[in-house]
């Protein structure tokens, strides 16, 4: 049960990363590998501030802002200096590796002693339940875990709703149109370059927010924690699209959150069954490969309609 709750919490936290990837990959059609660096940046900034005794909410917000800045840099490299979008992301991701080491001062910052948003949740749980354990459906569960899970669910839902609302504003719709048809939105007076910079900042802000929260939940920030995270995000987005379809943005956002949680659960189960953790990235990459290729491959075997519909 603890394992299940742990997987759910991490899945929910990483769904913020997946939402960030949704913005760059689906809305702007740019696989943005800055993600790998900005999740670690968010974790590093939050961790180092927490160790210094900064309020956890402020530290988390600072981590998210750091990620947004990194995303903006990628956007500027791509739009102002006309560097290929993938290469812009690679450059920033590589640079961030050094930046993260500088921020942390070493390759790993433990947070065991620090007060974090996770410890808020734990206190809340114990206070509400009046004890160390509660029973959910007859299972004994640590009240701290249950409270953190509840908070993670609440926060993720709020973040998803905020993203949905944002993409229905004047600025948000202009951003969607930027990804959809830049020529059209430029002819309607929007600054396409600025929109891309803002969009990548938003995307990496979400990613770094996930990093800041993940560090606090798992109790450390680590310079290596970002490796392969963009592929993780892609996998979540793709599973989400299979679950809810892509007909509306709201459904896609809900799907992405569900996709992240489901993917994390599958991974937890696979690890439990004895999957070698070293194979995890390989399997994630293979999964995304299959998800990208299979739809087109299957279409070839579908009977074609004989007349136009």
């Amino acid at each position: 049960m603890t394992l299940l709750i742990g997987a759910l919490i991490i899945g929910l936290i990483l769904s913020l990363l997946a939402l960030g990837v949704l913005v760059s990959f689906r809305i702007f059609s740019m696989p943005d590998i800055t993600t790998d660096g900005s999740i670690t940046l968010g974790a590093s900034i939050a961790a180092i501030l927490l160790v210094k005794g900064v309020n956890p909410v402020l530290a988390t917000a600072a981590g998210a802002l750091g990620g947004a800045a990194a995303g903006a840099v990628t956007g500027i490299l791509h739009t102002k200096f006309k560097i290929n979008s993938l290469l812009s992301g690679i450059l920033v991701m590589t640079a961030l590796y050094s930046v993260n080491l500088h921020v942390m001062g070493r390759s790993n910052v433990p947070l065991m002693q620090a007060t974090t948003v996770a410890s808020y949740g734990e206190h809340l749980g114990e206070w509400l339940a009046g004890g160390k354990t509660i029973h959910i459906l007859g299972w004994p569960v640590s009240s701290a875990d249950a409270a953190v899970l509840f908070l993670a669910l609440l926060f993720t839902t709020a973040a998803g709703a905020a993203m949905f609302a944002f993409f229905r504003t004047q600025l948000g719709t202009a951003m969607r149109a930027t990804g959809d048809n830049p020529q059209m939105i430029r002819a309607l007076g929007a600054n396409v370059e600025l929109n891309i910079i803002l969009g990548l900042a938003l995307s990496n802000g979400f990613v770094a927010l996930a990093g800041a929260l993940l560090a606090q939940y798992q109790g450390f920030a680590d310079a290596q924690m970002g490796i392969g995270m963009v592929v993780w995000g892609l996998a979540s987005v793709i599973i989400g699209e299979a679950l809810t379809g892509t007909r509306s943005l709201g459904l896609t956002i809900v799907g992405t959150i569900m996709g992240s949680v489901l993917f994390r659960l599958l991974v937890a189960i696979a690890l439990r069954w004895g999957l070698n953790p070293n194979d995890l990235k390989l399997i994630t990459a293979l999964f995304v490969f299959a998800a990208l290729v299979l739809p087109g491959f299957l279409d070839r075997f579908k009977p074609r309609p004989t007349s136009a519909t």
């Binding site: 504003t169 719709t173 939105i185 002819a187 007076g189």
Partner: protein, 270 residues
């Protein structure tokens, strides 16, 4: 009012692909004038429209529009003054977004875009009424993705979007060339209606002689990056398609003469 003076533009200068697309264009268009731009392929007519719209900066010359010197304005800033419809029906709309959202974007042309809701009730009512006048049955499908519509429908909607806020200048770049004849007629009729109703200053590029004689109050014929003929007033009203074809033939003969002369010179001297 639109005033171009001494506009020159060379693409890929100094390379084998050098194209002198505009070679000194001077043109003044009075407010409310509906100008048809004709010319053969490569004559520079689309380049002229793109220069005005700001798709690129001109090498020489100035562009003034509605009392602003817009020569150095980037494309998105000029969009405040200019409405555009492109040749490709896919170019003017965001396909995965709904009809209503596309119009919401058009209703902010030239205005700051903030965190207000894109789809406001102020927009929806007039939008539904206006789209109903198209008689395409689209007023009940405002939430459908615009990418699901036909080229003709999309082009009609693009035209309404471009003119939703009255532009100082409307640019139509062969906007019916990619449509089937029936849709093309519909879109042309709609264009004429909108232009007459709002008294829009318009530049329209077309290949159709029929459209050229029946629409507008002035014809500009481009050739090799310059304005070759400028037909207006009573002469424009009298003009028949055959007259235009004659002028095209004249241009073509001159072209042929140039080429055969060049071939002869080549043979004799090289």
């Amino acid at each position: 009012m639109l005033a171009l003076s001494g506009i020159r533009k060379t693409f890929n200068p100094g390379t084998v692909n050098e194209v002198r697309a505009l070679q000194g264009v001077d043109l003044t268009i009075e407010p409310g004038s509906f100008v048809i731009v004709l010319g053969m392929n490569g004559s520079g007519k689309s380049t002229l429209l793109n220069a005005v719209a700001g798709s690129f900066y001109v090498d020489e010359g100035t562009i003034r529009l509605a009392n602003h010197d817009v020569t150095k304005w980037p494309e998105h800033k000029r969009a405040k003054l200019i409405g555009r419809v492109f040749q490709n029906p896919f170019s003017g709309t965001a396909p995965t977004m709904s009809i209503a959202e596309n119009f919401a974007l058009a209703s902010r042309r030239g205005h700051a875009r903030g965190l207000g809701w894109a789809l406001s009730p102020h927009l929806m009512k007039p939008l539904r009424e206006r789209i109903a006048t198209l008689k395409m049955g689209l007023e009940g499908r405002l939430d459908n993705a615009i990418g699901s519509l036909s080229g003709g429908q999309r082009q009609a909607l693009t035209l309404l979007m471009a003119t939703w806020l009255k532009p100082e200048l409307l640019l139509l770049d062969e906007h019916t060339a990619a449509l089937d004849p029936k849709s093309a007629d519909q879109v042309i009729q709609l264009s004429d209606e909108v232009i007459q109703r709002d008294n829009l200053t318009t530049l329209m590029v077309t290949h159709s002689m029929q459209q050229a004689v029946s629409l507008g109050d002035r014809i500009i014929m481009m050739h090799r990056g310059r304005v070759l003929h400028d037909i207006r007033g009573a002469e424009k009203k009298r003009l028949r398609p055959e007259d235009l074809l004659d002028r095209f033939d004249e241009v073509r003969r001159r072209e042929l003469l140039d080429e055969s002369a060049a071939a002869m010179l080549n043979e004799l001297y090289i």
